[in-house]
Subunit: 335 residues, 2 copies
Amino acid sequence: MATLKDVARTAGVSVASVSRVLSNQPQVSDALREKVLAAAAHHSFRPNAVGRALRGTGTRTIGLVVSDLLNPFFTELARAVEDAAREAGYLMIVGNADERPEQQDLYVRTLLERQVDGLIVVPTVETSPLLREAADLEQHLVLLDRPASEVHAPLVSSDTSDAVSQLVDYLVTTGRQNIGVLAGPQYAGTAHQRLEAVREALARHGLDLPAERVWVGDYKRDSGRAQTRRMLDERTTPEALLVSNGRMALGVLDTLSHAPVEGSPLPGDLALAAIDDLDVFTLLRPSVTAIAQPTRELGRRAFGLLLDRIAGKPVESVRIPCTLHLRESTEPRRV
Amino acid sequence: MATLKDVARTAGVSVASVSRVLSNQPQVSDALREKVLAAAAHHSFRPNAVGRALRGTGTRTIGLVVSDLLNPFFTELARAVEDAAREAGYLMIVGNADERPEQQDLYVRTLLERQVDGLIVVPTVETSPLLREAADLEQHLVLLDRPASEVHAPLVSSDTSDAVSQLVDYLVTTGRQNIGVLAGPQYAGTAHQRLEAVREALARHGLDLPAERVWVGDYKRDSGRAQTRRMLDERTTPEALLVSNGRMALGVLDTLSHAPVEGSPLPGDLALAAIDDLDVFTLLRPSVTAIAQPTRELGRRAFGLLLDRIAGKPVESVRIPCTLHLRESTEPRRV
DNA sequence: CTGAAAGCGCTTACAG
DNA sequence: CTGAAAGCGCTTACAG
């Protein structure tokens, strides 16, 4: 590949002049500009961003590390961050931690070494010494979706409590008091919050959430299947089940539709709702009630905060409320 | 951030020695190694990959530009490439062209400027001067999933013809001769191939595929909805419809399930099959027959070819066959 | 085994 | 308006 030097030689000018022309600096004569542009075109010159970055003007690159890129929620989140980044002239590099702390740290380390101008992380686990260190070393860091303890960085997350509260109100007032939860994994900061939101909403009706009505999965589809089998085996099926994320809900549905008893128990016997709204929920029969997260808004705000941090402005954590979509899967019994 | 120079100063040695220790070169004394490691730890030293890359040892980064990252097929494809890259010690940067040629070129240009060691592209359109130029300038380029004309680069793609042939055989021998196709957009190289595969399979049975039984969408869900409405309005519904990708099939299902006539026409009246197998197809009722692409294999092979190119080995294009999954949506009429 | 020095491709004060 | 020169952080022949 041709370099500035090559272009300078064919144009018969200095590399400094070539650099000025190609970076659109105003103080250059038209004659010089013309010579340089012709030479650049002749060489199919493409600037080397590595050289430029080393000089210290930043890399115009941000990193995004998500906990699981195959999860459609994170795919859409990544997409929102990417759109915002591209509009602002930044390139986004995504790393997929796949819910593995070592892999998360591998990406964080790699991205820092590549001198990204800032980093957005959906923490896989609640605690990471590397993230803590990065924040303390004044790296530009923004947390997204999930909190991470002792990491001094702003967090952009969704607030499920209002929507959960509306959902619980609806279930209880239509006769379902015996409500169970398929919660997310301990290590994910969101799992705990969502569980608490249900507990508080129930408490407002004077109801409690005993341990035998809480199952725990890992946010993947298979755990939805496994926990549902356990629930059916234990004959402890509640009247309504609130599933902490979308993919587990698919697993639940899959197992219910293959349950030993002919026919699906929905919605007659078991009302079902998910936190996290998937495209397909409207296609299934019964369609699935869900709490939709403000996904694109989350991504957009996270990038906004990061830009502010890079620009040295003060930033604060942000919480954005979710929306409840009532569908067939929570309709009251017909009796 | 601390640099090699800082570490050298505190260790009381030269930067060359620090570099040698930190890159695990063998010819260093234990005493020196110890001093350097201590100093590096003291500074929380993190090597600057930009400095290293400029020196000319490559960036250990590859770029992947996909035509639409929100399409689960490409998400999984990206994931497969990422896994292969990570295992080989490479970082992958994804760019999402969103089916827009200018955006594809933006990413290709940006990635080349950042000195990626190689580039894998799912071409949004059949032709791109920039891609052609990149290939001709000896950049390491591999095309994935879709061909691009006049671009001198190897292609890794899936071969649907066998699976389509099996599917058509099944439909015809079980009494469905009037077969229609919802094809993909002209600009995608795969769309044409898939349509031809159906045409050839039908020809083997002495059947043809007239223009009035071919609808054209853009691989997105909404176009599945729109074309289905057209089909219903025109009262030209065939006995079986083969949809060229998964998301359009979801749109078709959505519209059929809301069709004016009560009840879904599946599978009694209209057999449905998709090219591209989505997770949810097994959850829907009827479950949806699909031709599954060897997604992970495609991603893995593409990265393999790229590594070979980078290593200077000769590489050839690869085609990998698809697999047919017969499900309820193509079951013969019960009559 | 270790160090001094050159150089990767760029940008930007500093002169003129 | 233009050029010569320094320097970003690293690696690697070249000496010793």
